[in-house]
């Protein structure tokens, strides 16, 4: 039964991916890509990875989808086209891609068996962190350096996007809301955020012990914020506004501060003092959730369009 479901999922996934690539209409392709994101979420559930499933649906599908849809709307009719491949070129590339896929498939099939795994190591070490969700333990304890640097990556992407604004209005606010906000959207923006915020906080809170965590929660919060801004209920913040900047920096800064604290009270950088690991991790996650939410929302919103209100 499950095998059939898996096969159907796989077939559907590939068909949809092909559709995304082949579809002529840009908008349809992107909507199909959104669906692909949802489908991937299901696949991740089948791969026993609920954390990833949540992340994929929230960021990979939802976040990227809205990003692409907005881009499509903004570019419609004047999207940049470069020269594509010729017919023969396409064939050659297709053949090459097929070979790569085949080789990759072969490599996947040839992977060592029994599969090497760090699952025992991860679950042995989890006691020291006091956490219940091993994925969170990996993200915020064992491989916390990755997570820290990745936060910087997000921040840097934001800096890069902001730098694309024209000189005069740098530091201003992006333009998110349409000129005339449709009624239903405004209605949704009033109804949904309370739910969304509750769900977001919940996701963050259970993240320590169950599927969920900063990224997923941050994405939900970001979506709520964007919704409110899109509906025109709140103005988008100036990029230069101190409050926004503090929220953005707060998470990584707290992370760093606790990391450096490790030099003094624990074994070293990014080490948590015994017994305090869980509260510290939860504190970091709390600050990170807010930072991630702000950063993701601003990433989608894009560079400034209005001069700063100074």
């Amino acid at each position: 039964m499950m095998v059939l479901l898996d096969l159907a999922l796989a077939a559907w996934l590939l068909a949809l991916a092909l559709h995304v690539v082949m579809e002529r209409n840009e908008r349809s392709a992107i909507i199909a890509f959104l669906a692909l994101g949802l489908l991937l979420g299901l696949v991740w559930v089948r791969l026993a990875a609920p954390d990833v499933a949540l992340t994929e649906i929230a960021i990979g599908g939802g976040g990227t989808g809205i990003l692409l849809l907005r881009a499509e709307a903004a570019l419609r009719g004047r999207g940049k086209h470069e020269e594509g491949a010729t017919r023969g070129g396409k064939l050659a590339v297709a053949a090459g891609c097929a070979v790569i896929s085949a080789g990759l498939g072969f490599a996947v099939l040839a992977l060592a068996s029994p599969a090497p795994t760090l699952a025992p190591a991860a679950s042995d070490a989890i006691a020291a962190t006091g956490l219940g969700n091993p994925v969170t333990a990996v993200l915020l304890a064992y491989r916390a350096l990755d997570t820290l640097l990745e936060k910087v990556v997000v921040l840097l992407a934001l800096v890069g996007i902001w730098s694309l604004a024209p000189d005069g209005i740098w530091g201003g606010a992006p333009e998110v809301a349409p000129a005339a906000v449709p009624g239903p959207l405004a209605w949704l923006a009033r109804i949904l955020p309370p739910f969304g915020v509750v769900i977001g906080v919940y996701m963050f809170w259970v993240g320590a012990d169950a599927p969920g965590g900063t990224f997923q929660a941050g994405t939900v919060l970001a979506a709520m914020w964007l919704l409110v801004i899109m509906a025109g209920l709140l103005p988008p913040p100036d990029a230069a506004s101190p409050a926004l900047r503090l929220v953005l920096v707060g998470g990584p800064a707290l992370f760093l501060a606790i990391a450096f604290l490790g030099f003094i009270v624990a074994d070293g950088f990014l080490a948590y003092p015994e017994g305090f690991a869980k509260p510290l991790i939860v504190a970091i996650e709390a600050a990170l959730t807010l930072s991630v939410a702000a950063a993701l929302a601003m990433l989608v919103a894009g560079p400034a369009r209005k001069a700063p209100a100074r």
Binding site: A107, V108, V153, L246, A271
Partner: protein, 506 residues
């Protein structure tokens, strides 16, 4: 796992090298643009101090520095490690970044009074992020950690390209981003396969575990090719000339001198540390062929360019080629591990001297552009009269690129040439010589213009502060000073290497 990283007493320096710039990035974002330049310069100075401390620790201890982050041993956790080569890279990075910082401080202060504008603030943030990403690449021991570092590098480098916001630079930046993204995704894919095969991402552990099997072969192929795309080796150099030529001078300098070295460094580690000996030999041959073609083809392209910065950008692609012909030359043997060969020293020296010379060249070109408002080589007759220091910087840097003594480039090329002759690779020796001749051609084209009598009195559009020129000259002089190193394997580069029981040895 038989290999265990142990934190060495001064291992925390590695953390500082990576994290200090991150702190500064956060501080600039939080505090706003007013103090950006000040924070950045302070951090760059601190970074230089840390780099020198690392180098001194390496020399004093004679062994590699390690740090196990958070006390979580690999494979579960992440370790950082600096051996002699990493140490050299870190010092070089800190030096070039410091010089570029000095240059940019004057230049960006020049444009608008406050220095609080968009390009200025962004530049400092990105420069610091670059520092962190480069150091993370040089000390990373974990393949995924290295992926994050590479992405950090890309995200810092791409906006630098289009800092001036013109359509063509935005186009170049987009092209760069997409191709680099493609490269890093392929790298990531290889990482996944390696984890699936060996259950670890730690390079030290992998150097002992790796065997010849399909998964590793596929992974190595994907990772190496992905990194080649980021290093812009021929024929994957499509993005480099417009991106490096379009960026503002200080940005071009770091992009050409440092940023493309990070993927090259990683390829070096993959081939020498991870790949089993046979695979290393195969990959080395192929990389050498690509490197040789890159040298010849892109040198000819550099000769053809009408614009100075494009010429320098093509020259970068050509010079990167030299780093790839090292692989078969440094293959080593049972009693002579790769890092004791002269080719190893030659390759490292080429990497460093190119970084210094190329940054000097781009800075000098930036001064020329600033002074004349254009960089068409044909219209630069007699610029040596007006900007003698810049012309001298360009000329000295050119000596190093051509491999004319005394310069770092000469020592590097001489070592590589000796290795090519001794190891029996006449075609590589011929390539090195031909590359030097072609480099002579394109450098000389500019020098000839610099010394020529101007056709008409030269009009300088904007006076350029002397400080800018002196920074370029100092970098070029450093490249030349490297030429006084002795012509033999350099012990510093072997520090920490013998500890790795080598995968490349039977």
């Amino acid at each position: 796992m038989t290999s265990v990283h142990a934190t060495t007493p001064s291992g925390f320096l590695l953390v500082l090298a990576v994290i200090l710039p991150v702190c500064a990035v956060l501080a600039i974002v939080a505090c706003g643009p007013r103090s950006a330049a000040r924070i950045a310069m302070t951090t760059l100075a601190a970074g230089l101090a840390v780099a020198i401390a690392i180098a001194m620790e390496l020399v004093a201890g004679g062994t590699a520095l390690s740090y196990v982050v958070g006390g979580w041993q690999p494979p579960l956790g992440i370790a950082l490690r600096a051996d002699g080569l990493s140490g050299a890279m870190i010092v070089m990075t800190a030096l070039v970044l410091g010089a570029v910082g000095l240059f940019a401080r004057s230049q960006y202060a020049l444009h608008d009074g406050g220095g609080a504008g968009r390009a200025q603030t962004t530049f400092w943030i990105l420069l610091l992020a670059l520092a962190s990403a480069l150091n993370a690449t040089f000390v990373g021991e974990d393949l995924f950690n290295l992926y994050v570092a590479l992405e950090l590098l890309t995200f810092a480098a791409v906006p630098l390209v289009c800092l001036d916001g013109r359509a063509e630079t935005v186009k170049a930046a987009l092209r760069y981003l997409l191709f680099a993204l493609l490269g890093s995704l392929l790298y990531l894919l290889g990482t996944g396969l390696i984890y699936g095969q060996y259950g670890t991402l730690d390079l030290l552990a992998l150097s002992q575990l790796s065997r010849e099997d399909p998964a590793l072969s596929a992974a190595l192929a994907l990772m190496i090719v992905g990194l080649l795309a980021k290093a812009a080796l021929f024929p994957l150099h499509l993005w480099l000339p417009p991106a490096h030529a379009g960026a503002p001078a200080p940005a071009s300098a770091v992009l050409s001198a440092l940023v493309i070295k990070a993927p090259v460094f990683l390829i070096l580690r993959l081939v020498l540390d991870v790949a089993p000996p046979q695979a290393a030999a195969v990959a080395g041959q192929m990389l050498a062929v690509l490197g040789a073609v890159s040298i010849l083809f892109c040198s000819v392209m550099a000769l053809r360019q009408a614009r100075l910065k494009l010429m320098i950008a093509y020259s970068t692609v050509a010079q990167i080629g030299y780093l790839f012909i090292v692989f078969p030359l440094a293959a080593g043997s049972a009693d002579l591990p790769p890092w004791s060969t002269i080719a190893w020293t030659g390759g490292a020296l080429q990497l460093i001297s190119h970084a210094l010379a190329k940054s000097a060249m781009f800075l000098a070109a930036g001064v020329v552009y600033e002074a004349f408002g254009h960089d068409r080589i044909a219209d630069l007759r007699g610029f040596g009269r007006v900007l003698p220091i810049s012309a001298a910087a360009f000329g000295l840097a050119g000596l190093s690129l051509m491999g004319i003594p005394p310069s770092g480039g000469f020592v590097a090329k001489c070592l590589l040439l000796t290795a090519a002759v001794a190891e029996g690779y006449p075609w590589l020796a011929a390539t090195i010589l031909a590359g030097g001749l072609l480099a002579g051609g394109y450098v000389f084209r500019v020098i000839d213009k610099a010394l020529a009598n101007p056709a008409a009195p030269i009009v300088v559009q904007r006076a350029v502060p002397r400080r800018l020129e002196i920074v370029a000259l100092a970098l070029a002089a450093a490249a030349v000073m490297l030429g006084f190193l002795p012509l033999r394997p350099f012990e510093f580069l072997q520090i920490g290497r013998s500890g790795v029981s080598m995968a490349g040895l039977p």
